[in-house]
């Protein structure tokens, strides 16, 4: 630039300022830092997208499962193995970028991937155990995948928002099952008999309240295994009772987007079941002895 200045002659006063600014050295330092920040951010956003895409594929395969409370069929594990692998690779690749100070700096860049992963993981967990996976289980899974540098942070917010999304999968799962088999998927008899008895003994404010309300002296009813709808309602109840910190971005997201969708999902399954119940006699047999009486009571209570 020095050469240029002498050549420019009269323009010298105006032009060379760009290179002669006393702050250039300082800003060059800033540039390095901002570049590092942007690169890191982009790596994380990319990983988050890949995690999201793989999770969606996993969910897609899981939607072909028809039973609850048992190990998923072999074809599911076989098909999904590569997607789980991709997810693990992605988490490992950004774990170093998300340590210490940076864990929360980029949390809104990774939250999309985290939520979708939660959705896939919790859906499979549900299909296999008919229960909701805990925050700690998700965290430890991510921690294992993150490798030695330290875990990728998975926040309670990611968890809650992921649970909301998972209800959408349970809805699809239920509706598909009702359409193809003419009934709601439910758990095993004997096991859930034991479960529900425990519930009605210990449940005081409980997540299973709706069931207990409908059948106060529930001797006969406790024989019934829990259906996906029972579980959806249990999740809905917990989510409705959950109090998000007022005014936070998380609360807005939850209240304006996720919760309405979640409610709609439960509604859809209830509507589907209503259809099954009122038009039940027109259905081929096979579901009647199982669903008929119990569900009849439920319809009346609505």
């Amino acid at each position: 630039m020095g050469v240029k200045r002498s050549r420019d002659g009269p323009m010298a006063e105006e032009k060379p300022e760009q290179s002669s600014s006393p702050f250039v050295a300082m800003f060059e330092g800033f540039r390095t830092e901002l570049d590092e920040h942007h690169d890191r951010r982009e790596r994380i956003i990319k990983a988050s997208r890949d995690i999201t895409a793989s999770s969606k594929k996993i969910i897609f395969t899981l939607q072909r499962v028809r039973a609850v409370g048992q190990a998923v069929p072999a074809f599911v594990n076989k098909k999904n193995a590569e997607y789980w692998e991709t997810i693990e690779k992605q988490y490992k690749s950004i774990a170093a970028d998300l340590q210490g100070l940076n864990a929360y700096r980029y949390s809104h860049n990774i939250t999309g991937g985290n939520q979708e992963f939660m959705e896939a993981l919790s859906f499979q967990h549900y299909l296999e155990t008919q229960s909701l996976i805990s925050l700690e289980e998700v965290q430890s899974r991510i921690s294992t995948m993150s490798g030695d540098v330290g875990t990728v942070t998975f926040t309670p917010e990611d968890y809650i928002l992921g649970v909301c999304d998972m209800t959408g999968e349970l809805m699809r799962f239920s509706v598909t099952s009702m359409a193809t088999n003419g009934k709601l998927p439910s758990g095993k008899h004997i096991e859930s008999n034991k479960r529900l008895k425990q519930d009605s003994n210990q449940d005081e404010t409980g997540d299973q309240m709706d069931i207990d309300d409908q059948v106060p002296a529930a001797a006969a009813y406790t024989q019934k295994p829990r259906t996906v709808l029972d579980d959806l309602r249990a999740i809905r109840l917990q989510l409705e009772m959950f109090e998000a910190p007022g005014g936070s971005r998380f609360a807005t997201e939850l209240e304006t987007k996720k919760m309405p969708v979640m409610r709609e999902c439960v509604d859809k399954v209830e509507k589907g079941l209503y259809g099954l119940t009122v038009r039940g006699n027109e259905r081929p047999k096979g579901w009647m002895p199982d669903m008929g009486s119990g569900r009849g009571a439920e319809v009346e209570s609505y």
């Binding site: 300022e17 760009q18 290179s19 600014s21 006393p22 702050f23 250039v24 300082m26 800003f27 060059e28 800033f30 540039r31 830092e33 901002l34 570049d35 942007h38 210490g100 100070l101 940076n102 864990a103 929360y104 700096r105 949390s107 008919q130 229960s131 909701l132 805990s134 925050l135 309670p156 917010e157 968890y159 809650i160 034991k194 479960r195 425990q198 519930d199 210990q202 449940d203 005081e204 404010t205 409980g206 997540d207 299973q208 829990r226 029972d230 579980d231 249990a234 999740i235 917990q238 009772m241 959950f242 109090e243 998000a244 910190p245 007022g246 936070s248």
Partner: protein
């Protein structure tokens, strides 16, 4: 509540609620401090805005009256620093980022007017406080990377630099009104230098980018003032302008 064998182990949501409530408590504590900071920032800029109608010779007076509100800002920042250092910095920093920028803006303007390290009643305008100097002043670390504590972030500093340019653009015109034809030249130089600095940065499409895009208009505004002066032969002889 339902036993673990139910769909939802109630402990899960109890625990989630407890964690989220903890965050709410932290937010509440921080909110008070941040509101106080906002108030003190206003007080400083109230005093410093007199610079727009004060000739350089009377500036020491203005700087002196800014000292007390400045001290309040500094105290509040260190209170904030203590409270916020208990938590992951980036978890809550959007709560106070604007107010920290406000504090920096005041400090930068105050420093530019000659408030920083002022020895006697002679003030010298045109000093840019570095991010390190601001950190020293507020007694907080700056631009941290290796540990998770409260600090002044680079983005906050850069944002306040842009505000400083806007403030100085205004001052360039007002100086002329006061019959001061020297400071517009000083400001012209300073603003161009800062603008050159910003042009080095590779900014992504964020708020910093949008605001720094406006810098060139401020540079032009000041150039127009200088142009008006030179057209009328009002520009003081070279060598009189200070760096």
């Amino acid at each position: 509540m339902a036993a673990q064998s139910g769909m939802v182990n109630p402990a899960i949501f109890q625990d989630l609620q407890a964690r989220v409530d903890e965050d709410t408590a932290v937010r509440d504590e921080l909110r008070d401090i941040i509101q106080a900071l906002e108030k003190h920032n206003r007080n400083v800029s109230f005093v410093l805005s007199r610079a727009h109608s004060t000739p350089v010779s009377d500036l020491p007076e203005t700087l002196k009256s800014a000292q007390e509100p400045m001290n309040n800002v500094i105290d509040t920042v260190s209170r904030l620093s203590q409270a916020a250092s208990k938590m992951p910095y980036y978890k809550f920093n959007n709560m106070w980022s604007r107010q920290m920028q406000g504090a920096c803006e005041s400090a930068l303007f105050w420093g530019w007017l000659g408030g920083y390290n002022k020895v006697d009643d002679e003030v010298q305008c045109g000093r840019l406080l570095t991010i390190e100097e601001l950190g020293e002043m507020f007694k907080i670390p700056v631009n941290l990377k290796d540990r998770d504590e409260f600090h002044l972030s680079l983005e906050e500093y850069l944002q306040s630099l842009i505000t400083l340019v806007e403030e100085l653009t205004r001052l360039a015109r007002n100086a002329v009104t006061l019959g001061d034809f020297e400071r517009p030249l000083l400001i012209n130089r300073f603003v161009k230098d800062l603008h050159a600095g910003f042009q080095i940065l590779n900014l992504k499409n964020d708020s910093l980018r949008r605001r720094s895009d406006g810098l060139k208009y401020r540079v032009k505004d000041v150039e127009d003032v200088v142009y008006d002066l030179s057209l009328r032969n009002l520009v003081p002889k070279q060598g009189e302008q200070k760096e």
